[in-house]
């Protein structure tokens, strides 16, 4: 039995990262390093208006005064910010009018990733904004969405075409002063997606962004901004992959969501950046700030994430519940294997009356990895009858990994009810035995049990993602009985 297990563990830990190929495509980059000229270069490349450049420079100057945060339960050597290329773009004609004008090599890349822009368009009815390295390469379904008044385009396009919206909302939820990586992102962000749902509109399809790091030595700094006006609804998906490379690459993104009265935003992520090899060489540093604000009454923001990739994940999708009766949700499955480190969780800030939040976090650790849940539930003085329920469960596979929980709960209102529970366990031998007895082999039994463990979260994912996420879970872990 132990031998068999080791074999299985070996299989898993050596299983290939499927998305590790490199696309041989001509790209155009900024010189390595970061200074005001780099920022001016990026801004000029994108032909940005002066106010945008000003914003970037302000963020950069603020960043210079800050220090790398050290509080997270992750360890990595200091990052040399002068050794990163801050702008890299696949060379192609500017602004393709139809998908046919996109470089075929590029299209092939996304097809390999399962994001066939053409197919997707015809079959699944999901609008996709594909971002390679620093720039958005294609956005599908734009015209159909425009009919409803929905704006779904790349950030650089939005800066030109909808400056009033960008000026109003950019940095309104995550100001550049928020933390070290948001300041950096605000200074150098190259592209991302912008999504605007007008009042009362229910977005008829899932909107999706696909991020891909291709070029070597580059950092990816994208920015997503979603504005849902009163009474609107949108479901948004995000996926990410990167080639296998020996050096670490930095990904510092910012996602902002503004949800107004009675609107609902559902944001789902399947994060599968390259995690590095077995010895922990290479892999993406995924330092992301995601935050939504329920501006109006009865607004709802829901984060769902499946985190399987990245060498280090440092990410806390949060919701500020400002409007009365607003709702925040956070569902997360974080899987770490080999030398991966994840420090992830959420913040629920209850400000309005009768606000509700729910946190379900499932951590699975294997190999020599460390997986931490870090969360904050804060109930302000005026958040009458606020309600929170949090559950974080950890599953340990193997005796060299670690599972940690750091839940902060701060309550200042006596009518609030806050509950938190957490458990840590391994897959029970009796569970395996039960399955074996019924003719299910150990490997399948483990997959079954892990799927069951993560089901509560998986159920929250839109169909298109649920399948992918389940497969990912299986690849990452099946068979690793401790």
């Amino acid at each position: 039995m132990p031998e068999e297990n080791e074999e299985l563990l070996d299989q898993i830990t050596s299983s290939e990262y499927k998305y590790g190929f490199v696309t041989d495509i001509e790209s155009e980059s900024a010189p390595k390093g970061l200074n005001e000229n780099t920022i001016r270069f990026i801004s000029a490349k994108k032909n940005e208006p002066d106010w945008m450049l000003e914003y970037r420079l302000k963020a950069y100057r603020h960043w210079l005064t800050m220090e790398t945060p050290k509080w997270a339960n992750v360890a990595f050597p200091p990052i040399d910010y002068q050794d990163i290329i801050y702008y890299s773009a696949p060379k192609q004609k500017i602004t393709p009018n139809s998908l046919d004008e996109i470089d075929p090599e590029l299209r092939l890349t996304f097809e390999k990733l399962g994001i066939s822009l053409q197919e997707q368009k015809r079959l699944t009815g999901v609008a996709v904004d594909a971002v390679m390295d620093s720039v958005s390469v294609a956005t599908t379904f734009k015209a159909e969405l425009a009919e409803l008044g929905i704006i779904f385009c790349s950030m650089s396009e939005a800066v030109h075409e909808h400056p009033e919206l960008i000026r109003k909302h950019l940095g309104s939820v995550v100001p550049y002063t928020d933390n070290y990586f948001t300041a950096l992102n605000s200074a150098v962000f190259s592209d991302g997606s912008f999504c605007y749902i007008p009042e009362g509109v229910r977005c008829p399809m899932e909107l999706s962004t696909y991020f891909r790091i291709n070029a070597a030595n580059t950092g990816q700094f994208e920015r997503t901004l979603i504005v849902a006006e009163a009474g609107s609804y949108v479901s948004y998906l995000e996926g990410c992959t990167a080639p296998m490379r020996d050096e670490h690459q930095l990904h510092a993104a910012v996602v902002e969501i503004s949800a107004f009265e009675k609107s609902e935003v559902k944001y789902s992520t399947v994060q599968n950046w390259y995690p590095g090899n077995k010895e922990g060489i290479g892999g993406i540093y995924n330092f992301v700030t995601k935050r939504g604000i329920c501006q109006g009454d009865h607004a709802k923001i829901s984060w769902t994430q499946v985190e399987t990739g990245s060498a280090i994940t440092w990410k806390y999708p949060s919701v500020i519940l400002k409007g009365d009766y607003s709702v925040g949700e956070f569902y997360s499955v974080a899987v770490t294997n080999n030398m991966q480190q994840a420090d992830t969780g959420t913040k629920m800030i209850h400000i309005g009356k009768h606000t509700r939040s729910r946190i379900v976090s499932k951590g699975i650790s294997a190999g020599k990895s460390n997986n931490s849940y870090r969360g904050l539930v804060q109930v302000g003085r005026n958040a009458v009858k606020a309600r929170n329920f949090s559950q974080c469960d950890s599953l340990l596979l193997g005796d060299q990994c670690g599972a940690h929980t750091f839940p902060y709960i701060e309550v200042k209102n006596s009518s609030a009810i806050v509950e938190h529970e957490a458990t840590t366990s391994k897959i029970g031998e009796d569970q395996i035995f039960y399955c074996n007895q019924r003719g299910i082999d150990t490997e399948a039994a483990v997959a079954l049990i892990i799927n069951g463990f993560a089901k509560e979260v998986m159920n929250q994912l839109p169909m298109e993602f649920a399948v992918e996420a389940q497969k990912l879970l299986a690849i990452s872990l099946e068979g690793s009985v401790g």
Binding site: S394, L396, T405, V411, I417, E419, A422, S425
Partner: protein, 432 residues
Amino acid sequence: MQESINHITELHESLPGDSLSDFSDRAFKDFNQLGIPKAKHEEWRYVKVSSLFRKDLTYPLHDSGLTIEDLQDHLLPDHDQATTIFFINGIYAPALSMVNHAQDELVLLPLSVAAASTEYADKVKSTLGQSTPYHPDGIHALNAAFSSKGIFIAVPPGKTLARPVYIYQVSDSRKGYTLSQPRTLVHVGAGSSIHLATTYATLGHESFTNEVTEVLVEKDASVYYYKIQDEGAKAHHVGTTSIRQIGKSLTNAVTISLSGGLVRNNLDMIMEAEYGESHMYGLYLLNGNTLVDNHTIVDNAKPHCLSNELYKGILDGHSTGVFNGKIFVRKDAQKTNAYQSNKNILLGDHATVNTKPQLEIFADDVKCSHGCTVGRPDDDALFYLRSRGISEKNARSLLLHAYAVDILDKIQLPALRAHVDELISERLEFNF
């Protein structure tokens, strides 16, 4: 802050050399290096302890001349049945203390004497400073720097003490704001059992007690430790109790906080042997501007240990309750069972709860869980009682008293339990 630190530095330099000089000099160096924890210090987020080191802080290191008559109001029930140990301003006062145990049952010595004796030097050495690695901060080091005024208690192997040991920490602040730094070392021999209760009193103005208690528990021994805090709104407290189990043994700690200014209780359970068992219970019943911060650590280093933790709070007025419970399960500590629960009831609209149950687990075959809740008295239960003709006030106090009894029941000394029950009932206006 600097003035009070200068004052303390002068005092430390003037200390006469004794058997503990090396230890305390090292600790003072640590103090200078680490400094008083600032608000940015993660472990001290909610307790602004630096605000206690004010200009008017004095640190009297001489006998204040208190007599037992001055202390009558502060004695615990049945005190004539127990061994009573007095500290005045953190200094052991043998003249007031009374040993009520046979000589072969209990050894009580000034710490510096024990450290110099041939018989106990090793025991002192193995216990003194066991809590230091868990508290890398200046305030903990500061106590160690003045530890020679403390005591050493030893229970020889195979003795079950029928009578409890009461320790009174008295701050004589009649002349102004004072600092006290008591240090207690307890060595419980194999197969022995002891009930140890500590209580606090402040006479006069404001006081600040910075206490460290270190307990070493050998195989088959059991330790029952009680900490009762009710010394008034102007008494600040930072206390660390570290209980280390080096053999399969049982420990039980109950911490009751009823009043205070800024209060920080550290409780460490260091489980260094297989099959150890430890229980931690806490009750904080607060109002006014009191802040009580309970930080507990359970460090499981060996397999097959069990720890259980339950802390309950009732918060009224502008009070703040803080709970931080850490459970560490090390790599080899398979088959650990560790449970932790923190429950809070907020009564006042200006009360605050900050709680952080924390698990850090490096072994896979373990069962660990934690839970915490914040809420208010159950409306349905209130309605049930009201519908049976019980006034709202009485119904409320009945419910709160029942909530507190869970912890009260863990005090296994009947007289002490009754005494604490009286204090709690008075506070909750519970008179059935």
